[in-house]
Structures are given as C-alpha cells and as structure tokens.
Symmetry: C2
Subunit: 223 residues, 2 copies
DNA sequence: TAGATTGTTAATCGATTAACAATC
DNA sequence: TAGATTGTTAATCGATTAACAATC
C-alpha cells in the first residue's frame, strides 16, 4: 500500500469509478474486472488498477474486484463515509438547481445552508432550507460544521464570497463563477464554471467553410 | 506558427486567458505580459507564452501582448467570432439556470432551442424560448444549425439524448449528467457533472480525528 | 543603451501504458 | 491444470518549466 503523492488526476477518477460501481451493484453484479471498467468508462485498465492500488490491494488475481467491497473502500477514501456539510452562497437559479441535485448526492454529503447577499432573497425557501443573510455565514459555518463551500454568485462577487468562506473556516470551495479565486494554499478550490467548458468545445467544431485549419480534422484527438 | 497536435490542456486554458483579457480591456489596460497573466491566473508565464505561440506570434518582445489584439486572436481560435448555436435538452432547474447564464455567454454563442421529454414541460417558456418536444429535436437542430448540444437530464436518460443529438448532426456535447456517454469518435464530449468535482473535493478534507492519513496533510499539493 | 519580455529549445517532471510474474 | 486477472515495474509518452538568444 503506497501512501505519498496521489495526484489530482487519480483522485478525480475515483468518483467516476464509484458512480459506475454503484450502478453495477444496483444491477446485482458481484464482481468486475479492470478490463470491464475500462471498457465502460473509456479508460485504460492498467490505469484503473494502478489508481486503485495506490490505496490498497482491493482486487483478487484471476477474479477482479468485489463490487460492494470496492464501493465501501472508495467511499472511505473519498470520505463519503462521514457526514460532510456543504454551504452554498448564491440563491439564484443555479444555486437552486444545485440544492435540488442534493437529492442525488451521497446521503452523507449535503447542502445544509444557503446564503445570499440580496435582502429580498433572504428568508425565502429552497427545499427545506431558509436562505440566510451573508452576515450569518461565519457563525453558521461554525455551528453546522460546514466544510465545503459552493459559490454560485456572479463573477464580480465571487472573490469576496470566497474570502468569507475562508475566514469562516471552510476547507474546500467549489466555484461556479468564471474567475480564478485567490485563497490560502491550504484551501482546495475546484473550478466548475461551465462557460470555460463550452468555449473550449467550440474550438473543436469543424470550420464552417472548408478553407482553413484543415489540419485540425486530422490532428485533434477526440476522446 | 506551429500547427499540429494542440493538446486539450492548452485549449482549455484559452477561455481562461480570454476571460481575463476581457476584464483587462474593460479596465482599459492596453498591454499585458505573460508574467502579469501568470500571476493573476496562477499559471507559469512560460506556459502561457508557449500556449499562445502554438497559434501565432501574438506578442512583442520587450513589450508584452496587446490586450485587444490578443482577445481578437483567441476569439478567432475558439471560433467565438462566428455564430454558434447551442441546443439544450432538459428543461429542469439546471437547464433553466444555464439558459439564464446565456446572457453571460459570448454574443455569438447562444442557446437557441430547449427540449424536454415531459409533455407537461413542453410549451412552457424559458426566457424567450418555448420548450419543444423531443420529436422536434432532429428537425430543429438542422433548421437552426445547432452545433453544440447541452444535456441536463437525469443520468438514466442522458445516453438516449446524446444519441438523438448525434443523430441530428450536433458536433459537440456538454454533458451535465453523471454518466460517461458513448458517442462516435468525431463527436466531442465534455463532462460538466458537478458531483464528480464535489466528491473529489471531499478527498482533500482534513481527517476528522487526527488518527490516520497524516501523510495527506503534507503530500497533497493544493493548487 | 539598458531593461523587459517574447518565442523557442532543452531539461525536467509527471502521468499513462505495456508487459509480466504472481496467483486466484 | 488452464485461463483470467491482479499489482507492479519498466517503458513510453506528453506536458510543464527553465533558460536564453533575439529584439522591442
């Protein structure tokens, strides 16, 4: 069992493994090979074995991986076996949508508080949560042990919100605003801005008229 | 000016450069160095220069990059200087939210049609768009020249929607559903599922009790 | 001219893949 | 036993970073 230096690329694949394993479990599949997984997830089987081997010897030679056991292990690695409270700032459409997705989230990971800077939003209901004022953020984060913050405010306000999250003691931030946040190095930030994705997709569109960039059709590797 | 094999990593950084350059332009900054950009965007200046140099000699030695000119160039590279029509399937909260973000999108990239499989959603209004039935997808994609499809339906329906997008002739897909889509190799798919992000964030949380995984605190490189 | 900054080559670093002995 | 499949080492591939001549 290795310990040190697990790369972000590896960690980002774990939820993808987990998600598919849960589906297999639901279909009552008992065992799965790295071959099978690779096929389904479009990944190299050796990579999957290597990823998992960073954390333990989860498989059995000649057999594969026990689906339930592997789920349990990955859930532990990702700390999804403990309660993780999430707070969200920005009670707009997107914030609303994410709160609803909450249902899809793991039982242990849930959005427990929603905040907004607009006075007219404060007090309104989202599912079973009442939108709170930003003034309540700091105390609420501490009181409810909120460890992850989600930011769904417009870009110009995102940095300020991040600062407040950090101040309040959040450990990680998922940022939907299209800005690069400046935070202390011990805070983990993941960018979830969909415009970046969408704009980079446009690059791969075929040239409208066949006149230039012919080379792209051949060189670009569609995955 | 290089041509071949521009990696996905490079393409994904272009929208980030663009975004910051637009901000600079708004602040009437005329010129920017790779140094400055790197500082703001948390990237290595050499990497920025190399990224840009794949597409042309946009900078001036001793001076830096002309902000307006570089914006123009990146917009061209990303094809944001042409009209790109986008279609969206799944008129739920998330779909709604993305349609609203449309305002933030580039003028030339816009969501021009929304579809939903639920009969009770069909006919309702989202901004200035009327939600259409799935039966209309194929014809509408062709009629309106929709080139990018966005999927915001529940996971079990996502593959079917993708199939229909592909059949209709869409060139790229932005998928918010937590599944790996199977599409022909000439179709580009970007995953935009936020649960993956959120789950991988949980990995980086501190251990609740100080008993195990001490190594993480030291080895993990927070970016 | 002196200082700044590019574009680019070479060096480094890290991640993916292939290959295979171990073993179920 | 024969076939399948892991965990792991070694080879490959690709991306990032450092360094520097060219030049504004």
């Amino acid at each position: 069992m290795k310990t040190l230096k697990i790369s972000e690329a590896v960690v980002r694949r774990l939820p993808i493994y987990l998600r598919h394993l849960m589906e297999l479990k639901q279909r009552e599949v008992l065992t799965v090979s790295s071959q099978d997984l690779g096929q389904k997830l479009d990944l190299n089987p050796a990579q999957i074995r290597k990823d998992l081997a960073y954390f333990g010897d989860f498989g059995r030679k000649g057999i594969g991986y026990d689906v339930s056991y592997l789920i349990e292990q990955i859930r532990h690695i990702l700390k999804l076996d403990q309660e993780v409270h999430v707070g969200l700032v920005g009670a707009g459409k997107l914030g609303h949508a994410l709160c609803n997705y909450s249902v899809y989230l793991n039982d242990n990971m849930k959005i427990v508080a929603v905040f907004d800077a607009m006075p007219n939003k404060v007090g309104s209901q989202i599912n079973n949560l009442t939108v709170m004022a930003m003034d309540d953020l700091r105390d609420t984060v501490r009181r409810l042990n909120i460890r992850i913050g989600i930011i769904t405010v417009p870009a110009p306000e995102a940095q300020h919100v991040a600062d407040q999250f950090v101040e309040a003691g959040v450990e990680a931030i998922l940022n939907f605003a299209p800005v690069i946040l400046k935070v202390p190095s011990h805070i983990r930030v993941h960018a979830a801005d969909f415009t970046t994705d969408l704009f980079s997709l446009a690059y791969y569109l075929q040239e409208e008229d066949g006149k230039e960039k012919v080379e792209n059709g051949e060189t670009v590797n569609h995955s």
